[in-house]
Symmetry: D2
């Protein structure tokens, strides 16, 4: 199977979901190998590169894309199977951006206090050992942390003609910033416009749940993914299936609403797939779900609600496409 390479030039970076012309047309079934820059557009390369000087929050998370998926129409389900995520640089960067993040007043949770000290951390990648190294900046400490690559942003064009910043997680996916968006996962996104117009970016070499300081170990990434299309069946909110779990992602404010969205979507999904009455699905999931917070720092907060497939009635979401894609991905192994 052919693999389509996509490496954008800097002037091809896009900073919105919706509102940009397609960079490429792809057919369902295509395998793409996409390079994406880091959240800062590569602007933070040493600890002396401060975000207050080099980062404009209106233009972060540069997207690679959008890609026009042939045949995709509103109401369809875009399926993106993440085959592999490979760090594309030998270092990642993180920053405590003034008035951005979870432990500071922000432009929404406004206070009159002074900002936290603007600080940049650089994480060296040890490719063979599969680690990135944290090096303290205001004290002394170094520690290697396992690499666990993920994509902070995976999204399609929004509904209703909206165009949203790539800093936003919403119904259309976007900047959900969940570690669940890793290799082996199949993402399902409702299509809102012809061609779906998906894009990806904001690679993280690793991230804690919540993304507390507002930024992960941000790094350029090479992502291999398979694009598929299911006619109809558009989920209202992003969903993920991996080998062990079904997941729904809610993104809103306050955070209990993010959870409500994700939990209700998962209840409805399981009820639809299994024939369980919605009250029974509600009860069963109450006893088996995990509910990891994804981010508490973006324009909306994101929460994942997930259930182990082994504890559910036998279900095959979207006709079992995840298992089929896993098999297809394995056949790419020799790439």
């Amino acid at each position: 199977m052919d693999v389509i390479e996509y490496v954008p030039t800097r002037d091809q970076y896009t900073y919105t979901f919706g509102g940009a012309a397609p960079m490429m047309r792809v057919r369902p079934g295509s395998v793409l190998r996409i390079w994406s820059d880091d959240a800062f557009g590569g602007a933070l390369r040493t600890v002396d590169d401060l975000s207050s000087a080099k980062v404009d929050l209106r233009f972060v998370n540069p997207q690679s894309g959008p890609f026009y998926v042939e045949g995709a129409e509103p109401g369809d389900t875009l399926v993106l199977h993440l085959v592999a995520l490979e760090p594309a640089r030998d270092w990642g960067a993180s920053a405590a951006i003034p008035f951005f993040g979870g432990m500071t007043g922000t432009d929404r949770t406004v206070t009159l206090q002074e900002p936290l000290p603007d600080t940049t951390w650089i994480y060296e990648l040890e490719r063979e050992r599969g680690t990135v190294t944290f090096a303290a900046r205001h004290s002394e400490h170094r520690v290697e942390l396992p690499v666990d690559p993920m994509l902070g942003t995976v999204g399609v064009a929004p509904a209703g003609g909206e165009v949203r910043s790539s800093l936003v997680p919403e119904r259309f996916g976007g900047n959900t910033d969940t570690p669940e968006m890793r290799a082996g996962a199949t993402a399902f996104l409702g299509v809102n416009v012809e061609g779906a117009m998906f894009s990806i970016g904001d690679g993280h070499y690793r991230q804690g749940e919540g993304e507390a300081c507002g930024t992960a170990v941000e790094g350029a990434m090479t992502t291999t993914l398979i694009v598929e299309l299911v006619k109809g069946g558009a989920p209202a909110w992003p969903r993920i299936e991996d080998d062990t779990h079904l997941m729904s992602i809610g993104s809103s404010r306050p955070m209990e609403d993010s959870w409500r969205i994700a939990n209700a979507d998962l209840v409805g999904w399981v009820a639809d797939l299994s024939g369980l009455h919605v009250m029974d699905a509600y009860q069963l999931l109450s006893q088996v779900t995990l509910a990891p917070i994804a981010n508490v720092v973006d324009a909306n907060y994101s929460v994942v609600v997930k259930a182990a497939t082994a504890l559910l009635p036998t279900v095959a979401p979207y006709d079992g496409i995840h298992a089929e894609l896993r098999a297809r991905a394995r056949s790419l192994g020799s790439l």
Copy 2:
């Protein structure tokens, strides 16, 4: 070592943290084996026992205790190491209580809509197989789920002379409803009054994160725990250490505030223990924490933020008391 048995009579049940006379005085170092009734006081025994008829939300989560810990003074740290949690009945119960839970309007998130159908589910315990069986009520399905016993409520008397319902999670612990409160965990609670006055209850044979429908697999429980006391060092919010993680629990509303509380507490705890500058602790934890939601249904919502000890600087919280208690617990093995 002697084990002190405590089985309350029904008139010894308490429904508050604070405000009750001590049921027993115990010395630090004591091993207690405590029976606690389920959240409903045993009122839901068949699927025909409906919560609207049999449950008064002002009097749920009957507590076993309070216990007066000798020598405990305000500012001290109460240490409770959970040795074993054993289901004390052969069934657990769960219910969709009208206007209570995460997928319905409540007395706070008030709507004018009709309630969801009042439904009770009974889970038979298969003790040998270590499972409870979900049986659908409005449709057809049965599935065995692994037992994972935990305590929904572990708390002390509040500060400032307050008395709080056993439905409330707060600084003093209480109804945090996190699956992390399981055997093998050591809980740390700040002491607010002489004797600490701790109590436990609300056993769950298992619970999903979020406790979505408002109730877990509620069951009477026999809990074996070791009581210890550290002079001073009172944490502002409940903390847990187990063999792999340090955890802080925040309980407030909206849920982002619960997370902020827990995350800030963990950042401060790690900074204090390790000597890391708080900005470095903030950064390091941003990349390594897990952030599972505990409950979205109680008087306050609870969030756990946890970090793998293996990824932190070498630390020994409270002089390494967790490891020491684990050893002591093992020596009780022949009980």
Copy 3:
């Protein structure tokens, strides 16, 4: 009619709703003239008295009371008609307490930022002109503001055996901090315990809606009020009637929940009084209510929803007791 004077000694101050023995027993129909200290217990008397040194947030809003109302039983409605509020000192105080207030991180909305500068402002009362004078502390400006006396806290003992700090607004009233609690208003509170056990305090010589910095022009107050009792009819949340409006007060978090509580209570109240279908009451009130925020700074946030009686169907809440109390109050004019 006799007027009962009550001036507590300092050791008679109470700091909770519930949990205190009654200071006095009063009969329905009684007129009380109650002195209450300011929120700081008089600790801030000059601009050099800083809250960080002199205020313990566990012991603010000293209450005058509790008063045991003869005949009051759970489910009854306590009626308190505020006849007159007179500043009892010649100055009020306000403070930006560190990590307390609406424009700073707090113990709930935790950040890692430094606190705002701890500052105290003293407002001189010009009794004849009916003003208090703001005098800037970090810059130069003075301006006289009209006095508009109100009570920050009016409450009864909570349900379920709870005891709550006098910093808390809740179902039982308490620290709602609304300027609507002024002379001429009749407050309705559901009775939870025998004797109702009401108390008042936290006088404000004036306050903006929201109480943004966390404190109003805090001042000792002499309050004249008439106590009445309606058997049954306990409202779930505090209500107020004045000569022009019906009001409900919701106190919770997040603030939309406070609004939901107040709005639903007012819809239900009007529907009950008028016979309007709840959907029609919902619609009519949607077009006529005012919704002033009361406080965004306390343990719960408070919102008032109010409707002009003139735009409602003819209603006489609690058998027209407000009009009757207004008449009775006028007859006290010669006091």
Copy 4:
């Protein structure tokens, strides 16, 4: 002075802020007389027109515009002085749209409950008496309510290339749904794109604060306004000045964040205008602001914080343009 009339055809309606080509170019100083359709695009004309059949929430609040203001550049301040708002039909409509509004679960605050009954109310306008008549639908009652015309949406194109639905209130204005947006008010909006690209719509013949049921007395409107431009000085959030008050409008979630935004903006505005230290502005405003909720039903919740100019240091925002526009508006009286 010439008055420019603008009456869009239906195919000229726009449903977004940003993303639409300008309908007209206007010079600063222009007087416009703009017709706008109601929120439903005129689809609800009798009580038998139900929103579930006739309203698509992706396409409500049709905008008249956008208007390109000559000379407007990013960072400038667009000034819109509302001279007159005249109901353009003889009736208004309101509806309880399923899963939309403040007293129901929504697409964000998701519950599993059934929707409220889909109901439409038609309000006849009595032009001479200046009233609209509420007529109950599920019970019997009629009452005339005073007309108080306002615009639910006044906005410009967003920053960062975003395009937002006309259902959204945000930094760019939009669907703030505050009764303060009435004749006599001067609105200030930060310009984000060349030409500002402002539009208006969503006229309300009257609305309660909070817009509880999700819709006001929605009506087609003829709005006379003067367009002005101040170079530079762009406020971060919408501001209003009228003859008595300065106001800031915050729109976010949860609602305390909306308040924080508005309050911080007003504190900063007053500090900038007056030279007061920000802590003194914070204190003074704490004692004088009003804080009416605007809406609790839109994509973001909106809160107005306002201060009486008479209680502030002498200030002349934007060089006193409001007073000058009032004078200009009076000179139009003979229109």
